[in-house]
Amino acid sequence: MTVATIASHQVRAGRTTELGLLVLALALGVGAYALVGLGTADAVPTNWLGYAIGLTVLSLALHGVLRWRAPYADPVILPLAVGLNGIGLAMIYRIDLAEETGFSVRQLTWTALSMVLAAAVLVWLRDHRTLRRYTYVAMLAGLVLLVLPLLPFIGATINGARIWVRVGGVGLQPAEFGKIALAVFFAGYLVSNRDTLALAGPKLLGLQLPRARDLGPILLVWLVSLGVLVLERDLGTSLLFFGMFVAMLYLATERVSWVVIGLALFAGGAAAAASTFGHVAARFDVWLHALDDEVYARSPGGSGQLVQGLWGMASGGLFGTGWGEGRPDLVPYAESDFIVASLGEELGLTGLMAVLACYLVLVQRGLRTAIGVRDGFGKLLAGGLSFVIAVQCFVVVGGVTRLIPLTGLTTPFLAYGGSSLVANWVVVALLLRISDEARRPAPAVRTVTPGGGTPTGGPGTGTPAHGTPVVTGTPVGPGVGRAGGDGDDDQPTEVVRGVPR
């Protein structure tokens, strides 16, 4: 535990660190773009300079916005997002060269748009707790976004999944934005109802079960998730929402029973879907018997794409072929769903591990932010959004490498797709905003959060961000696990339950 060190530590804003890391991230992305040209045509791409300047200006502008509006924001998050975005752009450009498509230009436009939007979020949203006011608006928005693809006229089915809407010629995946809205709703709902969810209810086999009426909203989400699974034929998105909700429920209540119930519900639903719907069963078949001749040759619904991806990654081996030297274009959707396989082929096992490490650090910085921030809403929001990134990586990379059945989810920042890029940059903006709050030296007097509970801990309030442990007569030392941030609003029960340990 880091209680003592952090409490006595001068908080460093970290903007200079961020600038240094940003230069590194830009060098990575811009360098990769140049290497793609060198690898395919032995020449730096003609639009390279413009690209380099554009990405640099956008990144530095965002860095400037952070200096201006969120000076204490986590210094690692932005460079990670820029780096991953840059690597993704280079790979999409590389696929473009092989297939003579125009994805990279559109992705570049989306990148610019996303980063501007992220800046706007940071400028306009001065305090993340403002979002809590819109808890139920967010729920409505989230549900609408989820069912939008099912509507006639604007909904569109692409590759068997009905997760698209077409507005004015632009295809969007509303679920990507829905995940942010629902994260806001979950955070707001759970922070208000966590006590009843956590404490009330009968006990069964050592598990504290929730009360039936508290189950309502959870069952609603379960139904919506299953609805997405069944009606939109999209296992990935439903897995994403359910994973996010179960994780946030667990964060709010600290009750393993919720995790058990959640997983059981999802497993039951998925099993029922697998036995009822052919496409879900086919996914399992492909997962388990990908290399069988019969499954490989089956079309549609065979393992052809998955196995092509595996072959691509295998041909990359330990060190990869190098940018532009492989044949990632042999895999269908090498620029979107299978961009991980493309990276595995050209950057090798080492490169792909580095990319995964970037994601891991990004998620862990987000969770660190959640631990650091003082208000329960912020904790839940930051924790939920971070976990969403982790789940998305897990579902995509696990699917491509046959760890789990393959489902259609985008790899955050890397994969081609405007909705995903915009949504993830907004997620990053929110994490940056919350981390600014988390790392900011607290003012002398704290304001009560809108709709929040009663501050507790007396002297604990008003201490630096990483806080003083809650002191209620019980000595709290390292190893007890009650580090900074527990001197919070919304946490009377935790203090009570913390004592006997």
Binding site: L310, E325, L330, M353, L356, Q364, I371, C393, G398, L403
Partner: protein
């Protein structure tokens, strides 16, 4: 809420560890089997995407990869393809690497061989595209060209060997084919070319020099004579009965001489019997020696053993087991079920030329990595002790008699003493006989041993004999070697 957050962080860590594990499983643990999956077109793309090594004859590449602007990156090109096709084989997208050095040397040509480990490691570290190694052959272009020219339109094969080292100087099979037609990147065209070659007369894809067996006919009398001399009871001067017709033991049939007459003398000396290729004398000698002695001698020349692994799908030459008297008589004159490839008969001559010591035949001289460093170099090695030095000397004198005053006079070369033996092998009653010649020159210091095989008599058809059809070809090849 921080305890669950920390637990969640641990869960995330576990999730990512699982991902790192599964990525490692795909890209490292299973990579080998995934890369070798026959359905995996990447293997072909990758092999074609890298510069495949050349096959070189006397400093000139007969098979090389040149960069082209298509999906495969490199086009395999065969210079003078039909001349070298029995040696190179082909390398094709549609049909794989087959039939020749392209197949046997595939691992060094692609650069995959463990022998090239350090060059591969260097390629990885420097980011250079891996390049295959170059295979330098032992072949002599003049001998190869002479053999092919002399065979002309006839179907047959020529194998020439340097007796002291086992280096193969010429290896020709006719009709040849142009591997370029199989190497085209248009898979439909390549498949069609392959099918046409399979159906073509004379079966051009199969090398008659190494992949086919034929009855060796009278050239096998060298083995019978060797068995007799090794036995000790016979010398070149030993008298053998040579009737016009020999009654085969325990059989109603008789064996006659070629052309139906006598052998010029009865009894006849062993040397003269070889000189005029007297069937009845050798058949009787075979019965006297017995099947076991013949078989043992044949095996010491390389029959019944694994054929030299210089080219793929090599045919093993055989001397049959459990022969009765009549069969033994036939085997002694190279008929019956004795079979030999032209390569095998070249080895018989080469062993006699090299004081009875049979050297391991080699086709690959040096394997050189892309940076010109030598990966491996073939050193001469002994395959077997076929006959004693004295026997080899006697056989040589007897074979000189064949060329200077016997059935093989067409093999004479002015100013050079040539040793040899003709063969005219009956196959079926209808088909014309195969014409054979095997021999070496010069006799005092043999530089080339050669075996010539002309299928079904070649241009002369049923009029053909080994002396008329095969011996001139052998002379041309030996002259080409001696003149170079």
């Amino acid at each position: 809420m921080n305890t669950p957050l920390r637990r969640l962080a641990s869960v995330v860590l576990v999730m990512f560890l699982a991902l790192l594990g599964s990525v490692t499983a795909v890209q490292y643990v299973q990579a080998g089997s995934l890369n070798n999956d026959p359905r995996n077109v990447r293997t072909i793309y990758r092999e074609f995407g890298n510069a495949r090594g050349s096959i070189v004859v006397a400093g000139e590449a007969v098979a090389s990869s040149t960069p082209v602007d298509d999906a495969f990156g490199y086009q395999r090109v065969y210079a003078d393809g039909p001349l070298w096709s029995a040696v190179t084989g082909f390398y094709s997208i549609a049909n794989g690497a087959g039939w020749g050095l392209e197949d046997t040397q595939d691992d060094v040509l692609t650069g995959r061989s463990d022998r090239l480990f350090f060059s591969r490691l260097r390629d990885v570290l420097t980011g250079q595209r891996p390049e295959g190694a170059t295979v330098e052959t032992t072949l002599l272009p003049a001998a190869q060209q002479a053999a092919r020219d002399a065979l002309g339109q006839q179907q047959g094969a020529v194998v020439a060997i340097e007796p002291a080292t086992g280096r193969i100087l010429a290896l020709v099979s006719t009709p040849g084919y142009d591997p370029n037609t199989l190497a085209v990147h248009d898979t439909a065209a390549a498949s069609q070319a392959f099918d046409e070659l399979v159906a073509a007369p004379g079966n051009p894809l199969r090398s008659k020099a190494t992949q086919e067996n034929y009855p060796p006919g009278s050239t096998f009398k060298l083995v019978t004579a060797a068995a007799a001399l090794e036995d000790g009871r016979w010398t070149p001067e030993s008298e053998l009965p040579a009737p016009t017709e020999l009654e085969l033991p325990l059989s109603s049939s008789t064996l006659g001489n070629f052309g139906g007459g006598g052998c010029g003398a009865d009894p006849i000396s062993l040397a003269d019997a070889l000189r005029v290729s007297c069937n009845t004398a050798f058949a009787g000698l075979g019965i006297e020696l017995g099947a076991e002695a013949l078989e043992e001698q044949a095996q010491r020349f390389g029959f019944d053993a694994d054929p030299p692994a210089i080219l793929p799908n090599a045919a093993g030459s055989t001397f049959p087991d459990d022969l009765d008297g009549a069969q033994t008589a036939l085997a002694a004159i190279g008929q019956g079920s004795v079979t030999a490839s032209p390569l095998q008969m070249a080895l018989v001559a080469a062993a006699i030329a090299n004081d009875g010591v049979l050297m391991e035949p080699t086709l690959v001289d040096t394997v050189r990595a892309a940076d010109l460093s030598v990966v491996s170099r073939t050193e001469p090695s002994v395959r077997s002790e076929a006959v004693s030095g004295t026997t080899a000397e006697s056989l040589t004198r007897m074979m000189v008699g064949v060329v200077e005053g016997g059935s093989g006079t067409s093999a004479q070369i002015g100013g050079v003493q040539v040793a040899g033996k003709t063969g005219t092998a009956q196959t079926t009653a209808e088909a014309a006989p195969h014409a054979w010649f095997t021999g070496f020159a010069p006799t005092d210091d043999p530089r080339v041993a050669v075996a010539v095989f002309v299928q079904n008599g070649g241009d002369l058809g049923s009029e053909a004999t080994g002396g008329r059809v095969a011996a001139p070809i052998a002379r041309a090849v030996m002259q080409a070697v001696l003149g170079s």
